[in-house]
């Protein structure tokens, strides 16, 4: 297991560094420049995290290794496929969570309590982490049998787009209004259907009641567990469309 962890770390650590650098630098430069309010800037950082990190993490773990042919070599060693899968899944969580954690530290150290209370800032990053992980599990499960990283990236982006469109649809259904920067709108209670959407975690706590939030946490955790089980069962099988 240590050997596998060492291998995965060596293969994926540059992504952790890349993601951390992008998010950390964005947060730091943005908070230093103060072109927009801290809250708005951090929302941008969080949206970047949700859009970038799950794609980066999910496509490089299994499809990239299928592409190289090394997954087959790995699975022909005397090691249970579930161990390989577990290590890869854990690495995916680290790749998704690590840069968010770094950005959160940077933001809290540099601007915690300046415009936003530190707890609110930390809360925003925790919700971002939850949304990013929910998306990661979707992307990971749907790309686990794809033969190339390119195809996996396309599917991962399609997953992101699909949930964005669903989120937009849910927003329209709930609010029946068109948002405009100059118009002050009253936000009605979100639809209960939001619990199935990974972006539910990005709804500010003041707009979502504790019941809906708890329901979302439970449903998203169940969905993530089911996706992981499904992915683990397909992980050791040959890639889709692979020849004999």
């Amino acid at each position: 297991m240590r050997s596998l962890l060492w291998k995965e770390w060596h293969e994926q650590s540059w992504k952790l560094a890349f993601g951390s650098l992008i998010l950390g630098a964005f947060a730091l430069i943005g908070l230093h420049a103060r072109v927009v309010a801290d809250e708005l800037l951090l929302q941008w950082v969080c949206f970047l995290a949700v859009a970038l990190l799950p794609v980066l993490a999910s496509t490089g773990l299994v499809p990239a290794e299928r592409d190289d042919g090394t997954l087959e070599s790995l699975l022909s060693l005397p090691i249970a496929p579930w161990r390989v899968f577990a290590v890869k899944s854990a690495m995916g969580v680290v790749l998704t969570a690590g840069p968010i954690f770094i950005a959160a530290i940077v933001s809290l150290v540099f601007a915690g309590g300046r415009e936003m209370p530190g707890a609110a800032m930390a809360g925003l990053y925790v919700r971002t982490l939850a949304a990013a992980l929910s998306l990661f599990f979707w992307m990971y499960a749907l790309t686990v049998r794809l033969p190339t990283e390119t195809r996996a990236s396309l599917i991962a982006m399609a997953v992101l787009l699909m949930w964005l469109l669903i989120a937009l649809g849910l927003t329209q259904a709930a609010e029946h209004t068109v948002w405009h920067p100059s118009v002050e709108i009253t936000v009605p209670a979100p639809s209960p259907l939001w619990v199935i959407c990974p972006f539910v975690f990005l709804i500010p706590p003041k707009n979502i009641g504790p019941t809906l939030m708890l329901g979302a946490v439970f449903i998203q955790a169940m969905i993530a567990a089911l996706l992981l089980v499904w992915a683990s069962r397909r992980f050791a099988r040959p890639a889709v469309s692979e020849g004999l």
Partner: protein
Amino acid sequence: MSNAVIEMNNVVKNFGRKRVLNGENLSVQQGETFAYLGRNGAGKTTSIKMLLGLLKPDSGTVRVLGLDPAVSPLEVRRRVGYVAEDQAMFGWMRVQQIISFVAPFYPTWDQKWAAELTSRFELPLKTKIKHLSKGQGVRLALLLALAHRPELVILDDPTLGLDPIMRKEFLRDLVGYLQGEKVTVFFSSHLLYEVEPVADVVAILDHGRIVRQDSTENLRERVKRFILSASAENAASKLPGLLDINRSGRQISIVVEDAQPAIAALQREQIPFDEIALNLDEIFEAYVIGRKEPANAEPPLERVA
């Protein structure tokens, strides 16, 4: 009691609608160097993946070292050394790193033996795998397959992509190892001349079935070509064990799977013939692309199939 290291009985494997193995039977005895021959796509790699528990048969039984690989794949893989066809390795690792990476998976890994093989195969420990030559890559794969002192070594077309000199060097290393150890070797290939010097037993796989399994000596002794007059074509086409028949001007060339009954039949019919010994390459060709009907084309000894 059977001393078989590998046994496959009536193994069937389909991929979708395509039947890849169609009732395959084979048996490999302890200490043998077993050449597993077949054209590309004949089902060799599929069989090997079943031996390692990477694929399950749709029906039939597979036993490796007395175990069912579908039930105990890890135990089988711990006791087997495997070099895959065109084996992909982690290009970013250095030679030393991949040895350290693979070693913990095998309880029987012999560090001294690994070091000796590294030196024997002249592998540069600090070089990244992506910078190794093709030949060095194959040697490294062989090292990784042998360093845990396996009871059975499975080589799936290991010299694919190597030039003839590299192939010879690889075989020299392999033979060198085999001379020192009494390990069973299952060697899959489509290059007959490369297995001929090392194989004790040969199995020919065609369309998902073993069409012949015999010792190399028996094959060479029994499978023969006869050159006959074209007037004997009718009699020749009725010979027992006929594998291949070709017309060349006023002569016909036939290949039979057992020379003795064929010779007896020809002598009985008082048909004069010249007997020609075949190498493994020609024997394989007769089995997998041989035709039992004479070609009508005139060019000498040209196959029309």
